[in-house]
Homo-oligomer: 598 residues x 2
């Protein structure tokens, strides 16, 4: 397993040079505390914590969790690392000081989560799920519930989960059956079975707060009859002390392809005592309030695995000696050249690098928008941020997680046979990465959300607003001496993005199934194009830094080289997608169901 080193130089580039987080935090209500010095200190400490506490547990955590009579036990060392995390005050970094949080911007917590998640994704999911529960309680719980449940959650003494999926209700939550029956005291009795509950049970915290979707008696069928509840693992007395166990426990832990260190549980609710969050029958709407954060967290998983796999593959490619460079021996004193001299090995490494760094900047751009959507006091600015997020989040979640799997698979390939052997850790990264295109809304669902709800649902307005931003960048930089060529190429892809959208819209008018026929390839086209924008911006910044006489020539030359690589070797995939995504839905739908196999 590669030893993780936080890529702080690249994180600073994305934050400071590309996206000007300093100004962003200065203008953000509550962002004053995130001074450059504070941000720097937090990044440094997060990098140390991740490298020292979490990275060593990544491979051992792959042995998995254990279900005992007393509940689920997390892998060895997870509990102790979590205790240190809580002691370090990390749990409530972005939470409201009223409940014990540090009140720093959400985006900063998200970057810390990326650092932790790269070192050890399975471990990072425990606080990740807590964070979802915190945001839900902050937004939808009554004052009484907030005062009782939020402080220990924000402190980290308790953790949280999100209980949505049921055996028959995955992408289609409208089918869920878990019941919530009112008790006389205003609480509810929750009964049903939830599956795929990440961090569902473990021994790392004193209590676990389950956020649960369930149906009230006589609720309407489908999506409009779902309500949201808080169900603690242990009941809580009015003074905050723990009473006895609630009627909810893990029935089993799933044996999965990867992320073995995180307990994915079947949770059985057997008349468990719970409390309504938000309005009755408005549970799905409540969930959607933090859907953007949750999906951004999963988008980060793609970056985490691309980065970790890249770190491993790069180190190996510098050491492993096989064959000679096609331009002539580079290390004639050795038995062979290090494989990093081979163009095809570099193709793989640069793909990983382009995804990790480009995906990182893309996710930070989204994280800034999350800050604004949460905190801005300017209604128009908040609305703009929400609209932009509505468009970008399904692209980030869908595209970056696909890229993460591709990058992780390339990391295996760079290692050759050793990549397939568990000892080296590269195959674990691939196994861990493969869940990201599935959970938090499959990428097929992200694609429908993007093309259907967001682009078509806004009559193309959300897209055109973003295209306007990109075009302003293009107009300002098409003559850049180093990056101008890329900027002009970006313009072609962006212009075609609009045109393709128009063609698909016309297709949907004629046949509604055009939506599902086009959606996935449209998502990927959109992703490659947004990443092209990110890389063109990065190239411009690098050119400017070099022109201004920066001494970090290697770093900026690498940015330019990676941008060129992305445009010349990866972005051309859009040429194929531009053809396939406007194809007629009949190509997919004409075949009779019975004729798929004989």
């Amino acid at each position: 397993m590669p030893e993780y080193k936080a890529p702080l130089r690249d994180i600073r580039f994305a934050m400071q040079e590309l996206l000007d987080f300093e100004t962003h935090y200065q203008n953000l209500p509550g962002g004053e505390d995130a001074s450059p010095d504070m941000v720097e200190a937090i990044l440094e400490e997060a990098g140390k914590f991740a490298a020292q506490e979490l990275s060593p547990l990544n491979q051992t955590g792959d042995k998995g969790c254990t279900l005992t009579d007393d509940g689920v036990i997390a892998p060895e060392g997870f509990k102790e690392a979590y205790a240190n995390y809580v002691e370090g005050g990390w749990a409530g970094l972005a939470q409201d000081p009223e409940y014990g949080g540090q009140g720093l911007p959400e985006s900063l917590a998200s970057i810390v989560a990326e650092i932790n998640g790269t070192a050890n994704w399975s471990w990072g999911m425990y606080p990740g799920l807590s964070h979802g529960a915190m945001v839900t309680l902050e937004t939808h719980a009554t004052d009484e519930l907030r005062n009782l449940y939020l402080p220990p959650l924000v402190e980290g003494r308790w953790t949280g989960t999100m209980c949505l999926t049921e055996p028959h209700a995955g992408s289609d939550l409208g089918l869920l059956r878990t019941k919530a029956e009112p008790n006389d005291d205003g609480s509810y009795s929750i009964t049903g079975t939830k599956i795929f509950i990440s961090a569902g049970e473990h021994d790392m915290a004193e209590n676990i707060l389950h956020i649960v979707l369930a149906r009230l008696p006589d609720a309407p069928a489908g999506n409009k009859g779902i309500s949201l509840f808080l169900v603690p693992r242990y009941n809580v007395n009015d003074d905050g002390s723990l009473a006895g166990a609630n009627s909810v426990k893990a029935g089993s832990i799933e044996h999965k392809m990867g992320i073995h260190g995180n307990a994915t549980c079947v949770m059985n609710f057997d008349g468990a005592r719970g409390f309504l969050l938000g309005q009755p029958n408005r549970g799905l709407a409540c969930m959607f309030t933090f859907m953007n954060n949750a999906r951004l967290f999963i988008a980060q998983q793609g970056i985490c695995h691309a980065e970790l796999s890249y770190q491993g593959a790069l180190a190996y490619a510098k050491e492993r000696l096989q064959m000679r460079s096609q331009r002539g021996a580079v290390a004639p004193e050795k038995s062979a050249d290090p494989i990093i001299v081979h163009p095809d090995v570099r193709r793989m490494l640069l793909t990983q690098k382009a995804y990790a760094e480009g995906g990182r900047a893309f996710s930070y751009l989204c994280a800034q928008l999350v800050d604004l959507a949460q905190k801005s006091q300017d209604d128009a600015e908040r609305k703009r941020a929400e609209d932009r997020l509505a468009l970008l989040i399904p692209i980030a979640k869908g595209f970056i997680t696909e890229a993460g799997v591709e990058a992780s698979s390339l990391g295996v390939q760079v290692f050759g046979g050793h990549g397939y052997i568990a000892e080296w850790g590269m195959e674990q990264i691939l196994r861990d990465s493969r869940i990201a295109p599935i959970y938090e809304g499959t990428n097929g669902i992200q694609a429908l959300d993007l093309l259907g709800r967001k682009v078509m649902g806004s009559q193309g307005q959300l897209l055109e607003d973003f295209v306007g931003e990109v075009n302003a960048f293009i107009d300002a930089n098409r003559d850049n001496p180093e990056a101008g060529e890329l900027v002009v190429e970006l313009e072609r892809h962006v212009k075609r993005w609009s045109e393709l959208t128009g063609q698909v819209a016309a297709g949907i008018q004629k046949d509604p199934a055009t939506l599902g026929s086009a959606s996935f390839d449209y998502l990927m086209y959109s992703g490659y194009t947004v990443l092209a924008y990110i890389w063109a911006m990065s190239a411009v910044k690098a050119q400017q830094a070099l022109a201004n006489g920066s001494s970090e020539t290697g770093f900026y030359q690498a940015k330019l080289a990676t941008a060129r690589f992305y445009f010349r070797r990866i972005l051309p995939r859009n040429e194929g997608l531009a053809v396939s995504l406007v194809d007629d839905a009949d190509t997919l739908l004409s075949l009779e169901e019975e004729a798929f196999a004989f």
Copy 2:
């Protein structure tokens, strides 16, 4: 884990309708016994054996092999299934009757191996490795060695391995260090460590014959100093009975991402008694004599996993109910429609189907050429077959194994969260599939072999000969009423294939690193194009069958629909590859090694 059903209808389509195996076998020396009735009986029995004996052991075999003091133990049931395989006379299907084989064509054995390998790839590797050892001994062993060692190997009582890789010598076999020192009796003492030895040790057979690459004393350095040896696990008396153990044993078994049922061993040779095969220092050349067979076997792995994953995903997509069809409810009496109504699910299923069936026909085309290269008495015909194989094998191995991983990953995706859970078996298929782009020459090596040794090495002649065959098909079928549109599109891709080759050749003239810069994307472009040829041929055959009034309208309509899908949704990827593969090598090579990370 999907229950496997041999796709006999599609196998017959590829063999009988597309590639006319009947005539092929009639004309093939030794092929007379492969009458249509015999072929049909073998396919039927192979399908039954695979479904009844091998499929039930696929998921349980994932628990892996065990290293004991007495050597490696294969997963439960493997030994018994292998005994039934031997008893059924399957082991020597294509081997020389002089040594107890049935003398049937190699291609037929290869199709049986595909059927077994789809049901249980890990199990199928044991006879697969034996087959490599058989071919090696038939071709390179002295009469004395052949008479002693081949009969029990052909019978199946003994199995074989291929021992090539060493810790420091993977793609670059020239670096290997295992020593072979001559003994007074004409045998050799072999000393060294081999890694990644598939089927290296197990309890399924009485003896194991290792085919080992090693260096004689004073052998030249590099590739030209490697010799080939036979090293039995147990020494063999002159009467064929077993003497004591030889000094070779498994030091450990690797913990891998997948194919757990096959023992991947570190093999320690400690002065083990061995026998020279072929000429001294000609070991690599000897290996190359059956390289085409071995690489075709791995290409089949892509088909096997695409097929098995497709069978699983298709069954699930017909049963799983989530959401409604975009064209209006299809099953209004149910809570939701089966997900096979959704275009995006069909995109995934049809990709799997296009790869499985197209890859199958592609591999059978290669298998016919292997027959001719082995058996034809006509020198010119044999040379043509060898030349065509030289071009097609790296494409088949490289492209189909990439397609197999993609298809297996899509199978996971169709299952949503369930796809990530071991119980359903879909993630195992993906884990098992991931080795195929690595072993038997990584796909990076296949790409260099294709573009460098084969295409450039023949000054483009191998490619142009094949393009000539494809163009004859195009000219004959461009007016086909159903398939003509596809044939015309194929023409564009084939024409551009030649043009791109010329551009790359010019690039290599200027900069030899252009080879490695272009090679992988060139391999993929070639693969998509060959598969387009296969699908265009399939569409023509389907149109003709329908025009001739076949009653199997569903089957042939599915062929046409899958062909159209392939051309409209998959083949456009060539548009991007055509751009990226002619890019300058400097895009990959300009970045200083130190500048990859900061």
